[in-house]
């Protein structure tokens, strides 16, 4: 059962042990302190979350702070008493920074909360027991204070070959684990059995240094007595054999991979103190509220181990152990090799405090002044991690952090062996700590810098895009202004338009040329910068690379902006060129980003269609003004309005498609067509519903007593309302979408808003007219039935008429606004009657085609002749055919002229 370690580890030192002083007296039980100070961060990870209020009375073992995250721990009241304070207090930490602590004033009743041991732990699952350990606040008691539940949770994912119990206690002076093993041997073995149940290891090994013969004897005895399946392995006394990695190497010959955890190689390592705490938690239901601590050092006359409640101030323990304040020079928490000094004796004992070393000046004198490193290599011989400490010192001093990392700085366990042997008294570990923290800070800073860089670049791109957009808008406005001046001047003098247009065209050409030159320049600059960048990258000059990269990004932006401008100007100039020839009210609507001729052609086509529709509308409206009571004309007008809307829609779609091609960063460019489709569909639905309603109304008028018809009217009305709502929704959607697109749509946004308003006005007008018609019908019906609501209805009718009037007025205004230059265009048209005729011919042809298509579609859908008739489509067809014939005749006549 008793074995010697078969393996060894590199380096190691043999400092004076100084362990006998604190083993002269039995385990002491100091009286309870007046105040127990319980820091919320007694472990590695997140500080615990307080569960109690000031003034609250708590019982011994009652949880007073809970887990606050995955790597965190519970905290319990070490005795019964009152919470008197939750505030910052000095804690045992190398930084010396205060931390939030719960301060408990004991009531000296020592009254336990009801304890709930896991009597049947052998039947419980590992998860349940680990949960229990977590709620009992168990953390690793060897020094780091890693929450035990987290460590054990790792065993569920890995097959554990060895469970290693660390009983080495290699640090000089400390005897807390030795005393624990002597006093609580059975509890230790039973705690290990619980851990065996949890981790299911193939082997369980206790590693203990050969300088603890009493503990070894008792452990052997207990293992035999309890029949535990545990191997006791004695390792030679050498610092730092108690280091987790070194003990694993000593007992198994395996090495924990660099940057990994023991669990990665199937090993779990637990301190003996933790095993006893596990026993207490599982077998007795007691949380971790006390620990064994060594009080030692020559400034104490009664050096001993004590079992103290957590939170007991160090000063209380020093007094108990009879210390000499005048002799005390250095107060170390932990052992001399890895412990840290504290300046304030009011700090409390926490879960990881294994030793309080009160040293005199003679015992631990001031370190000698640091001398130069002579690279004697003694540190290398002592390093248990197989590092080159002398090289690491060199790199740390000269801030060559990359070299230090390459020499595995982060594998340093900070055991202090190198500092111990250094003949030049160099505080090597301190240099490494400094380098490590500098590197960690640099890493964090690098991550932050990366984020900042991404954000900065996004911002820069955005600002540049905005600037380019503004510039493009300005250019467009300038071109527009030039064009409109030309056209405004047109009516005054007849030959002016061509001239002005020509001037503006030549202006545009100049701008175009200038832009082209600019583009060429920018491209050259960009190429040069890219070449420079390549050279800089090859030479590894990171500063220059960064600058050049910035420059290139800027140049690329610039180039893009110039290209955009160039394209928009190109389109504009084409438009200006065409202004004298093409009679379209949309001429000066700036079309930008025409990247492909296909989409440009589409836009043009759509514009032509829109112009045709607008013209027909106007004609119909004129006719309507002459014969206001003509129902057929009214219907025609509505149809035309619809046609205009469709044409506008098509134009917009085409323009959008065009914009989409260029605007790579545009806000969800694919969404727009879908929305437009929805809008179109909603409009069509609305038209159909309106027609259906009208038909139903007519039928109802013919047969007013038909209940069935009435019901149909109501349902139709409902449908209409639904369709209207759908349309509205689609419109708002369309609008919001347009708003989001405004950034990329640039100069186009003013025109669409206008057309939108126009469309809205037209729709309003149509709706008002339809509503009024309904009211008229209602009046008729009321007259027939002699209903009392007649007066009200008539009033409504009047109001409706007034509304129609205002709407028509505003529509006209808008049309005028939209086609401000229409008179000029018309003049031009008048000047060229042949062309006008041709256009009329084309219009008529288009209208005819449309009607024909419509009829065909309906036939396909199976609509009967009668239905077609009622819808006036056939009439329309005849009309269109007549018109076409008329225009053809006219054309022939003019040609003969």
């Amino acid at each position: 059962m008793l074995q010697q370690a078969q393996y060894g580890f590199h380096g190691g030192i043999h400092p004076p042990e100084n362990k006998t002083q604190s083993l002269q007296l039995p385990l002491g039980q100091p009286p309870l302190a007046d105040r127990l100070i319980l820091p919320l961060g007694q472990h590695i990870g997140q500080a615990s979350q307080p569960l109690v209020q000031i003034g609250e009375h708590v019982l011994k073992g009652q949880p007073i702070a809970s887990n606050n995250g995955f790597v965190s721990s519970y905290l319990h009241a070490p005795t019964s008493g009152t919470i008197v304070e939750i505030s910052e207090h000095q804690v045992p930490h190398p930084s010396g920074l205060p931390e939030v602590c719960i301060v408990l004033q004991p009531d000296h009743q020592d009254q336990w909360i009801e304890r709930q041991p896991l009597v049947d732990w052998q039947t419980l699952s590992a998860t349940q027991i680990i949960q229990h350990l977590s709620s009992m606040g168990i953390v690793g008691m060897g020094g780091a204070g890693f929450p035990t539940q987290v460590k054990l949770a790792g065993s569920e994912k890995h097959t554990i070959q060895e469970l290693i119990i660390n009983a080495a206690e290699c640090e000089p002076y400390i005897t807390a684990d030795d005393m624990l093993m002597r006093e609580k041997t059975d509890a230790l073995i039973q705690g290990i059995q619980v851990l065996q149940h949890l981790a299911k290891p193939e082997k369980t090994l206790i590693g203990i240094e050969d300088n603890k013969p009493t503990a070894i004897e008792r452990l052997q005895d207990s293992i035999k007595r309890l029949g535990a399946n545990i191997q006791l392995i004695v390792v030679p006394t050498k610092y730092p054999s108690g280091g987790e990695k070194q003990l694993i190497q000593l007992l198994t010959g395996k090495e924990v991979p660099s940057g990994g955890l023991p669990v990665d190689i199937g090993i779990i390592c637990q301190n003996v103190g933790t095993c006893v705490a596990v026993y207490d938690a599982v077998h007795l239901g007691q949380p971790l509220i006390s620990r064994i601590t060594t009080l030692t050092g020559n400034a104490i006359s009664a050096a001993q181990n004590v079992e103290v409640p957590l939170g007991t101030p160090v000063s209380h323990l020093l007094q108990y152990a009879d210390f000499d304040a005048t002799e005390l020079e250095r107060l170390v928490i932990g052992g001399p090799m890895m412990g840290f000094t504290i300046a304030d004796t009011s700090v409390p004992v926490i879960k990881t405090t294994n030793c309080i070393l009160a040293a005199t000046k003679k015992e631990l004198p001031q370190p000698a002044p640091e001398q130069a490193c002579i690279r004697c290599g003694m540190c290398e011989q002592a390093c248990p991690a197989g590092l080159l400490p002398q090289q690491l010192l060199w790199f740390s001093k000269s801030q060559e952090h990359d070299k230090a990392e390459h020499h595995n700085l982060f594998d340093c366990i900070e055991c202090g062996a190198c500092s111990y042997v250094c003949p030049s008294s160099i505080p090597l570990v301190q240099y490494y700590r400094h380098s490590k923290s500098t590197i960690r800070e640099a890493r964090e800073a690098a991550v932050k810098a990366d984020h900042a860089k991404v954000r900065f670049e996004a911002r820069k791109a955005r600002i540049e895009a905005e600037a380019a957009e503004k510039e493009a808008k300005r250019q467009a406005n300038r071109a527009k202004a030039a064009a409109s001046t030309t056209k405004a001047a047109a009516p005054a003098t007849k030959p002016a338009p061509e001239k002005a247009a020509a001037t503006s065209a030549s202006d545009a050409q100049t701008i175009l040329k200038k832009l082209k030159v600019e583009l060429a320049l920018t491209s050259t600059k960009l190429n040069k910068a890219q070449k420079n960048l390549q050279a800089a990258q090859e030479s590894g000059d990171s500063d220059t690379v960064a600058t050049l990269q910035g420059q290139i990004a800027e140049l690329e932006q610039q180039k893009q902006a110039v290209q955009q401008q160039l394209e928009s100007t190109h389109v504009e100039s084409t438009h200006v060129d065409n202004a004298t020839n093409v009679a379209t009210p949309q001429t000066n609507k700036p079309a930008i980003n025409a990247s492909t001729s296909v989409t440009s052609a589409e836009v043009k086509k759509a514009k032509v269609a829109l112009a045709i529709a607008s013209t027909s509308l106007k004609k119909v409206q004129k006719q309507l003004a002459e014969t206001p009571d003509d129902e057929a004309l009214k219907e025609k007008e509505t149809a035309q309005i619809q046609a205009i809307a469709d044409a506008e829609k098509a134009l917009q779609d085409a323009q959008q498609a065009e914009t989409k091609l260029d605007a790579a960063d545009g806000a969800s460019p694919a969404k727009k067509p879908a929305i437009s489709d929805a809008l179109k569909k909603a409009k069509v639905d609305l038209a159909i519903a309106t027609t259906h309603l009208k038909k139903a109304h007519e039928k109802l008028a013919a047969d007013p007593d038909n209940e069935e018809l009435k019901a149909r009217v109501t349902s139709r009305e409902e449908k209409l309302a639904a369709a209207k709502q759908a349309l509205e929704q689609a419109q708002t959607q369309d609008q919001t979408h347009e708003k989001t697109q405004e950034a990329t749509k640039e100069a186009t946004n003013t025109a669409p808003v206008n057309t939108d308003a126009l469309k809205q006005a037209k729709i309003d007008l149509a709706m008002a007219k339809a509503a009024n018609k309904k009211v008229e019908k209602a009046i008729e019906k009321a007259k027939e039935l002699d209903l009392p609501e007649l007066a009200g209805l008539e009033q409504q009718h009047q109001a409706g008429l007034a509304r129609i009037q205002t709407l028509e007025q505003s529509l006209q205004d808008m049309n005028q606004g939209k086609t401000q230059t229409a008179p000029a265009a018309k003049k031009v048209q008048v000047d060229n009657p042949q062309k006008q005729l041709k256009i009329d011919h084309a219009l008529a042809k288009a209208a005819l085609n449309k009607v024909k298509r419509e009829i065909e579609n309906r036939r396909k859908d199976g609509a009967s002749e009668a239905e077609l008739n009622t819808q006036g489509l056939l009439d329309k067809l005849a009309q269109c055919e007549d018109k076409l014939a008329a225009t053809e005749r006219q054309m022939a006549a003019s040609e003969t002229e």
């Binding site: 991979p257 370190p367 000698a368 500092s419 008294s425």
Partner: protein, 362 residues
């Protein structure tokens, strides 16, 4: 009760100070110094005193100029050791100003101008030696013969030695022909062997006075004295075995190889190890920690390199012995070797090499 706040480890660092290391090395040279004085007269002893005095003065002067604490640095004994090692390497008969020049150059240029102890890339003593050997080749190659083989058949008296070193001539009662300087000096065995001028090895050993057993034995005893000193340092763990063992093995192996090929012209391994400054170089010069390799594996390469260079320079170079140049050449290579001779760190599958980052992902 003002509590000290000091970083770990908290230990009583009493022994193993840098000064202690230097003192131990100085102590370890004493057998060699004694044997040299016994066999070749007081010359070496006087040179040591001159050198140490010069070194302390130079070191103090430069420290003063650099604004450093003079006593703190003088107490590390490094200047004394440098001077001692250089003086031991010099022929006993060189004039005083030559020693002073060499030591001053060692301390001021080779050590302090590079930043003082711990920062000198080259072995300061060997820099001084190399300077003197190149600048003053004649006095630097004149050794006293061992007392049994000189014309005077005795070692020079203390007063005569002082006179010789400080005035360059011997006067008074002994100033007769037989007592001129030539009566005392002769080539070292290595020098004699190198310049045997077409003689076979056996003929050279039979005829040349410097290769007589008495003279060879004298050098053998000097080497044994330094070997003893070296073993003492190994016992104290002031040095590790890597450099001397690698050096001596490499020298022995390469010498043995050429001896087997051509035993009539080449000297044996034993001759190479015991008649020159091989032991002195292996245990006292090559082990200078500051300028040598620092990793254990690096020390093996470094030592072996010196051993091979010693043989090459001795056999085909222009100098009879080659410790200084071999050590200086390997000083150049030491940092580079260190980068490629890193030990395998715990938790890593293999040792890292060079300075490239990455590649080692266990």
């Amino acid at each position: 009760m003002a509590l000290l706040r000091i970083t770990s480890p908290h230990t009583q660092r009493t022994g193993h100070r840098t000064a202690w290391i230097m003192q131990m090395v100085i102590l370890a040279t004493l057998p060699g110094l004694l044997v040299q004085t016994w066999l070749f007269g007081w010359g070496t002893f006087i040179q040591v005193l001159i050198a140490i005095a010069t070194a302390l003065v130079c070191e103090a002067a430069v420290l003063k100029l650099r604004g450093r604490s003079i006593m703190f640095f003088l107490q590390d004994y490094s200047a004394v050791l440098t001077a001692l090692l250089l003086a031991l390497a010099l022929p006993p008969s060189v004039p005083w100003w030559l020693t002073v020049t060499g030591v001053a150059f060692s301390i001021i240029v080779a050590k302090q101008l590079y930043g003082g102890l711990g920062n000198n890339p080259f072995n300061p003593a060997m820099i001084g030696y190399a300077l003197l050997l190149v600048s003053f080749p004649v006095p630097m190659t004149q050794w006293f013969g061992a007392y049994e083989v000189t014309a005077a058949n005795e070692v020079m008296a203390f007063t005569d030695s002082i006179k010789l070193i400080f005035t360059g001539a011997i006067e008074g009662a002994h100033a007769v022909d037989a007592y001129t300087i030539d009566a005392y000096t002769m080539a070292t065995p290595l020098d004699a062997f190198k310049h045997k001028e077409g003689l076979m090895s056996s003929e050279a050993f039979a005829t040349l006075p410097a290769l007589q057993p008495a003279n060879i034995n004298a050098f053998f005893w000097i080497n044994m004295a330094y070997l003893a000193g070296g073993l003492f340092l190994l016992y104290l763990r002031v040095i590790t075995w890597h450099t001397p063992v690698a050096l001596l093995s490499a020298l022995a192996i390469i010498a043995g190889f050429f001896y087997i090929i051509d035993s009539s012209n080449a000297a044996s391994s034993w001759f190479h190890l015991t008649t020159g400054a091989a032991m002195f170089g292996a245990f006292f010069i090559a082990t200078d920690p500051v300028s040598s390799c620092t990793s254990n594996r690096g020390k093996l390469f470094y030592g072996a390199g010196i051993g091979i260079l010693i043989y090459i320079i001795r056999t085909w170079g222009g100098y009879p012995d080659a410790i200084a140049f071999a050590v200086l050449l390997m000083n150049f290579a030491a940092p580079f070797i260190d980068y490629y001779a890193q030990p395998r760190t715990y938790g890593h599958k293999e040792a890292k090499k060079g300075l490239k980052t990455g590649g080692d992902n266990p």
